[in-house]
Amino acid sequence: MANRLVSPIVWQRATVIETVRETPQARSLMLALPHWQRHRAGQHVEVRLTVEDGYQAQRSYSIASPPEAPYLMLTVERIAEGEVSPYLVDVVQEGDQLEVRGPIGGYFTWQASQSGPLLLVAGGSGIVPLMAMARHHALAGSTTPAHLLYSARQVDNIIYHAELEQLATEDQAFAVFYTLTRGAPPGWAGFQRRIDLDMLEDVGWPPAQHPLIYICGPTPLVEAVATMALHLGHAQGRIKTERFGPTGGS
């Protein structure tokens, strides 16, 4: 048997200190952990639930809070047939404890020190890790120009809508663009279609500016947008993706 010389990532008991209803399908959980290591925007954690008979279910959730925050914020969207997300979205209360380990991942991360304009493209709950980046951008006082393109079904499904509007007002280097794919309210000023080449070109940066592009959401959206970005002439090495699977959650 191999002896471990370096400590593995360990499970910690996180305490839910606050919950915030974001949309009918999504809720944010603010967690306090006994031993939290500063994370990077874009990283995720794993959450493990154990039921009385010992059965365990484990899922990955992106971190929504920026590295500067004193707590860990996860935003979870309910998956209809899910084992874990309905519990986190509808059942967990302040004071409850969850098993959490992380932060995990170093690839799909952004730090304010990185060069190049930033293009963030989110589909549905794919906004979560990108929100950590947008919040980090504002709190770090980054002057790197950043654009967020956020595709949601309907206006009620836009997670962090009010805060995004506020960030776009207060953070001079940050702008947000929305597109709704299943109908818009009267007077809607944003896009009203699936993300396409024209939209990506309008909202993004020319390849000559070497933007860093982060795409997160349901797998079909992520792959379609990544293909468009390559078609527009962006370098593969500047495009980072985080696929959430068929329905945009796990």
Binding site: H44, Y107, K240, F244, P246
Partner: protein, 92 residues
């Protein structure tokens, strides 16, 4: 395989961190089949209860297979020519 079930290598970050002492999604893997080099986080995963298979995004060759049994981790990296790990203590 159902294309909509594809995930990024990022999804295996926690599992790989159980085995390796470094954050592994930033490690660079060279495909033994086509020679493409990509970050582990940019590899393709098809989620399966049987185990985790990380494939080359260029040619879909299996590069890293991880199966966890009750007592052991089985790690098959025969599809990869080379894995370059850059220690980064800030990201685990």
């Amino acid at each position: 395989m159902d294309a909509s079930r594809r995930l990024d290598g990022n999804a295996a970050a926690g599992l790989l961190r159980e085995i390796f002492c470094w954050e592994m999604t930033s490690a660079a893997v060279t495909c033994g089949n086509c020679g493409a080099t990509n970050a582990v986080g940019a590899l393709i995963i098809y989620a399966s209860p049987m185990g985790t298979v990380l494939r080359c995004p260029a040619c879909e060759q299996p590069l890293v297979r991880v199966v966890r049994t009750s007592n052991d981790y089985w790690l098959d990296i025969s599809g990869a020519r080379c894995i370059q790990v850059t220690p980064d203590t800030a990201a685990t």
